[in-house]
């Protein structure tokens, strides 16, 4: 029996199909210049579209209640997207705030979004993560964007 499709599956398979179609288009252009350069990319992209398309086969779109009954729905629909937005914002702000300050903001957003409300837990986690991040950075000898601050 076909199971209900979840939003994650729609996003994943559609993403794979889009990547595959972009691959087919560009690798076909490569093949017109040099057959061997585009051969493996073309075959791979085509197979990606086929396999991602086939993954839709055993699924059908239905209402969210059925999906929850099937156990397909994630526990919290809003937490992960907020953290994803925080991660993208982290990338944009890293050159302005510096790695450590930007990371501190990211940690606060992730912890509070996850439901951690206890001040001591937040403070200890914040200090510990930043300290380990600093030590790790020193160990690797890397220059982080704008250094410490």
């Amino acid at each position: 029996m076909a199971k209900d499709i979840t939003s994650s599956e729609i996003i994943s398979y559609t993403g794979c199909i889009i990547i595959g179609l972009v691959g087919v288009y560009f690798s076909y252009q490569m093949m017109t210049h040099d057959m061997l350069v585009g051969l493996v990319p073309f075959a791979t992209s085509t197979l990606l579209v086929v396999f991602a398309g086939l993954s839709f086969r055993s699924k059908h779109i239905a209402n969210p209640e059925n999906a929850i009954q099937d156990g397909d729905a994630p526990r919290s629909l809003w937490k992960a997207p907020i953290i994803m937005v925080a991660l993208v914002t982290f990338l944009f702000l890293i050159d302005i705030l510096g790695f450590m300050l930007d990371t501190a903001v990211l940690i606060l957003v992730v912890l509070t979004t996850s439901g951690v409300r206890k001040f001591s837990t937040i403070a200890i986690t914040l200090v510990a993560v930043l300290a380990i991040a600093f030590l790790f950075q020193q160990m690797l000898g890397i220059e982080l964007p704008r250094g410490l601050i």
Binding site: Y13, V37, T44, L47, F51, L54, M84, T113, T121, L144
Partner: protein
Amino acid sequence: MLWDIAHALFDISLNVKLIGLIALGAGLGIFGGAMPGLSAPGALAISLPFTYSMNALEGVSFLASMYTGAQYGGSITATLLNTPGAPESAVMTLDGFELTRRGLARKALQGAIWAGFVGGLIGIIFLVLLLNTAAQEAARFGPVQYTALAVLGFTAMSSVAMGSHIKALAAAMLGLLFSLVGLDPISATPRFTFGSPDLYGGLPLVPALIGLFAVSEALILAERGLFMSSSEAQKPVRFGWKDFLEHSRSMGVGSAVGLIIGVLPGGGASIASWLAYSLSRFVSKEPENYGKGAIDGLLAPEAADKSMVGASLIPLLALGVPSTASAGVILGGFELHNIVPGPDLLTTHSDLVFAIIAALLIANFSVACLGFALIYPLLRVRAVQPAVLGVFVLVLSLIGAYADNGIKFSMVLAISMGIFGYFLRRANVPIAPIILGMLLGPIFDQNLRRALIASGGSLAPFVEDPFSLTLLTLAAVLALFVMLTPMYKRMKLRRMKSPA
């Protein structure tokens, strides 16, 4: 030769500094291998400059013990956090993490130590026995054989996929496509670079690996917030002698695969661990349990990983050809001390070779002892709130990604891959085939093209060469096994349902 190694072993046991360095190397290796984003070659590369101040024996022994430790370390995070420390540990997430979910992390980690110890010993024995002859045979490998090896790797990967083989194949194609980004190494034609200079060098593996495994795991951990399933409370179940004997077959299979793949230049640890998993499942009496917490699914790849250490030193010491990235860093260690590994090494520096083998033996014992000592503190990692653990994983992953080449693009890639990886995992699309696709992609693409150019477009060399034919036949058998097993199960089910 055995007498020489025993003599070297005795000498080393009297050298406190060297014993200390080997133990330190093993400990740092376990730490480096366990760190998401800091793979075994990465950890070795970071430590390479520290060997300047050591002599050749100390430096190479230190690196070799780190290599041994890192091979075990990768399986710790794969088992406990579903985040492999290294690409070759990806397969261990399938059953290792499932065991942790069922509260059997202690048994899984103890089993992994035993499997690694047995695999490591077998690898060293193999190194001693075949150092002179086997590497010379492996050096005859050409593009045809490498292409066949990559085909076998892809088939093995699809055969180990749980649930949907279609999803695994889609993931593998995605990984293969990612590996083709950048300047084509044969004709320097840009492929899928979209005019971005950041992409000319290709998609860097380490940030991609960190993103797909670690960042996506951090997102899932953060999403779970304060929730900690009661089933994750770890039970005091140990891996005893009875278990050891019961699962010795999977350790033997894994060790054998590690020996064969380890000696092949460029074979790669990932292929060995996937093949070991696949073959172990093939010979298992209960293949349906694989992916659902079968301890054999953890022991076979672990034994393969560790037996590879000894086996990979055969082409390195006898021919100067590293078969894995970690062996390549050890080659750098030799060069730092103006020693060129190759056929002459056994005559000019035979003492050094025997001492390195003896050091490897001690490193194997050190890793096992340290592994057992670290189990209790490691199990505490699971007791941390998922959200807090997610924050640690996230921040260390971001630094690890940035450390790869020191550009912001690596962080961008890790986060993008992490977000995509999150949705893939939510859709039950396996992540490991993507990584294997990225590792096998360049081997497959370049060698296929070289083979086709050499043969004038003919595929005949692939069936004319006996080794290539053997590998391709094995791939075909595995593919048939994958296709026929569900059909056989359906037929069996139909027969059971149909009235007599």
